[in-house]
């Protein structure tokens, strides 16, 4: 029915997929902001925003209206082109990564025989693509800090950029262990391989299916990835560059209205992205008990895992104090990077001796 060899039809289907994914991500991000305010409030012994709509569910729309109607300020001596370009780079590179994540297995629409894989696109170097786009996201913050022509912004921007490029290294290296186990850079392949290792997930073992996820083969890699991801997204305990008591608001001090909303959204989309990557690589993506029998259940398992990671981020924010900047850099270079390299050596040695043959 749908002739996929026709390039226009192919492009049309891909655009539809991108459109659906884009909207889904934006809605999830908007409600993550609300969830953060509510959960943080409950941790701190108060109630968050619950006036707008039932329990506050319309709060994101109220915030959006506020951001649209605020006054657009451009500082007098700033470089206007870069000032406007910086949030565009930040939000674009944050949103570009969602096209490679597999949201579910191959599903068949009932009463027809159209089957499609629930991933927008699938290519060989998906994991490298994610790392590449994350590297470009550093420019959004650096250029924002510099172009605002303000000392708080510049210090915040440079500190944030230095933190990002330092923890990018251990982020990338912690993923090498997973690549060594799976033998592929394609995210959908990595998820498929976490299906039923050693027979978990078949028959009576269906409830033990989580034991075939990658986290049990790479616990050290998972910890390194988690810490690096929290540092990459500038979240507590690594959020000194944008802490309110330290540098006013860091690199986005001089931004207002819609451009600030773009930075704000870019941070939460980044959080969402690294949660998706953690769920895909270490927690088995859409795999879970019951997915082999009912494929559509995979989407709920995936969303459940991603929501768990987002809750974990918010939980950390309400609980931990923040690192000082030199402690942060020491930790990243002198501890985390050697441990990540150690993890690679260990995994490579075990892979050489055939421990990871399935």
């Amino acid at each position: 029915m749908l002739n996929l060899d026709n390039p226009l039809v192919f492009a049309g289907i891909k655009f539809l997929g991108i459109f659906v994914a884009f909207n889904a991500v934006l809605m999830i991000v908007a409600y993550t902001v609300l969830a953060e305010r509510r959960v943080l409030a409950f941790i701190q012994g108060r109630v968050g925003p619950n006036r707008v709509g039932y329990g506050g569910v319309l709060q994101p729309f109220a915030d959006l209206l506020k951001f649209i109607f605020k006054e657009e300020i451009v500082p007098d001596k700033s470089t206007k082109f870069i000032y406007i370009l910086a949030p565009i780079i930040a939000i674009t590179s944050a949103l570009m990564t969602i096209v490679v994540y597999p949201f579910g297995p191959r599903v068949v629409i009932p009463f027809t025989d159209i089957s499609f894989e629930m991933v927008v696109t699938r290519f060989d170097v998906a994991l490298l693509y994610v790392l590449a786009v994350t590297s470009v996201g550093v420019y959004g913050i650096t250029l924002a800090g510099w172009s605002s022509n303000s000392k708080y912004s510049l210090m915040g921007g440079l500190r944030s950029a230095a933190q990002l490029i330092s923890y990018e290294l251990s982020l990338g290296l912690s993923l090498v262990g997973v690549i060594l186990i799976s033998g592929s850079l394609d995210l959908a392949t990595i998820v498929e391989q976490q299906g039923n290792r050693w027979g978990f997930g078949d028959g009576l073992n269906i409830i033990l299916q989580p034991l075939s996820w990658n986290i049990f083969l790479q616990p050290l890699g998972f910890l390194i990835y988690l810490i690096s991801a929290i540092a990459e997204t500038n979240r507590v305990p690594f959020d000194l560059p944008e802490a309110e008591t330290e540098l006013v608001a860091g690199f986005h001090t001089e931004y207002s209205a819609l451009k600030f909303a773009l930075f704000f959204m870019a941070e939460y989309v980044n959080m969402f992205t690294v949660s998706m990557l953690a769920a895909t690589l270490f927690l088995g993506g859409w795999q879970g008990p019951g997915v082999a029998q009912l494929p559509i259940l995979g989407v709920f398992w995936f969303l459940g895992k991603v929501i768990f990671f987002l809750f974990f981020y918010i939980w950390l924010r309400g609980t931990l104090p923040r690192f000082r900047f030199d402690q942060l850099m020491n930790f990243g270079w002198k501890f985390l990077l050697p441990v990540a390299i150690l993890n690679i050596i260990l995994t490579a040695t075990l892979a050489f001796f055939g421990v990871f043959q399935f």
Partner: protein, 226 residues
């Protein structure tokens, strides 16, 4: 057809960004244009069926090297170029002549490629066996056939790292040395045997206030060797 259109767009983007990089006065705009060139080149690599090189191009060039360049421009606060009057008038006809020679060479190359009797193979990527650009084949080649260049490149990168750390090393200042705040104690001062150890020997970019405090405005210093 679509690849031709994409190639034209990306090539125009790359050339446009390259010209912008050279023609900009503000150095940060030049750096951003160079990032645009690298990203366009990365997309061109994807068109040539080399996805690994495309991703690595963005990670290494646009994501690491240009971040370093942007940091340097920001921290050193490089000024905008000022329009100066042209002094060397003979350079313009020379540049035009050399550009004409270059265009003639490229035109000759394209002409000889287009009219040669050699028929190329079917384009890379349409045959099922062609996997030259994929990660596995690059890895295999890198660790078997090109192992020696790979190891030598590793040593080269190590040399660069060690050199950078050595050049940026700060020497511990001994107590009692009169160092002007804000100045940088360069290693040469430490190895000079004739150094007397007072504040006037240190090459410093002082603020006016620090210069007044340490009496550096006088021709003969009053704090010599106490």
């Amino acid at each position: 057809m679509i690849t031709s259109i994409l190639f034209l767009i990306l090539a125009a983007a790359a050339i446009g960004c390259a010209i912008a990089m050279v023609a900009q006065r503000n150095p940060l705009y030049s750096a951003i244009s160079l990032i645009g060139v690298f990203i366009s080149l990365s997309c061109l690599y994807v068109l040539l069926a080399a996805p690994f090189i495309a991703a690595v191009q963005v990670i290494v060039y646009a994501g690491a090297i240009m971040v370093l360049v942007v940091f340097v421009i920001m921290l050193l606060n490089v000024e905008e170029e000022v329009r100066r009057p042209i002094r060397l008038h003979y350079l313009i006809p020379t540049a035009v002549a050399l550009a004409a020679v270059l265009i003639a060479e490229v035109a000759f190359l394209i002409y000889s490629v287009e009219t040669s009797p050699y028929v190329p193979l079917s384009p890379v990527g349409t045959t099922a066996d062609s996997n030259v650009g994929l990660t596995a084949s690059i890895g295999t080649g890198l660790f078997t056939k090109y192992l020696l260049p790979f190891e030598i490149t590793s040593v080269l990168i190590l040399m660069a790292i060690v050199g950078a750390i050595t050049l940026a090393r700060r020497i511990a200042v001994p107590p009692g040395a009169g160092v002007v705040p804000g100045s940088q104690v360069l290693p040469m001062e430490r190895v000079d045997p004739r150094r007397k150890g007072d504040a006037t020997e240190v090459e410093a970019n002082t603020t006016g206030e620090a210069a007044r405090i340490f009496d550096l405005n006088k021709p003969t210093p009053s704090r010599a060797g106490d």
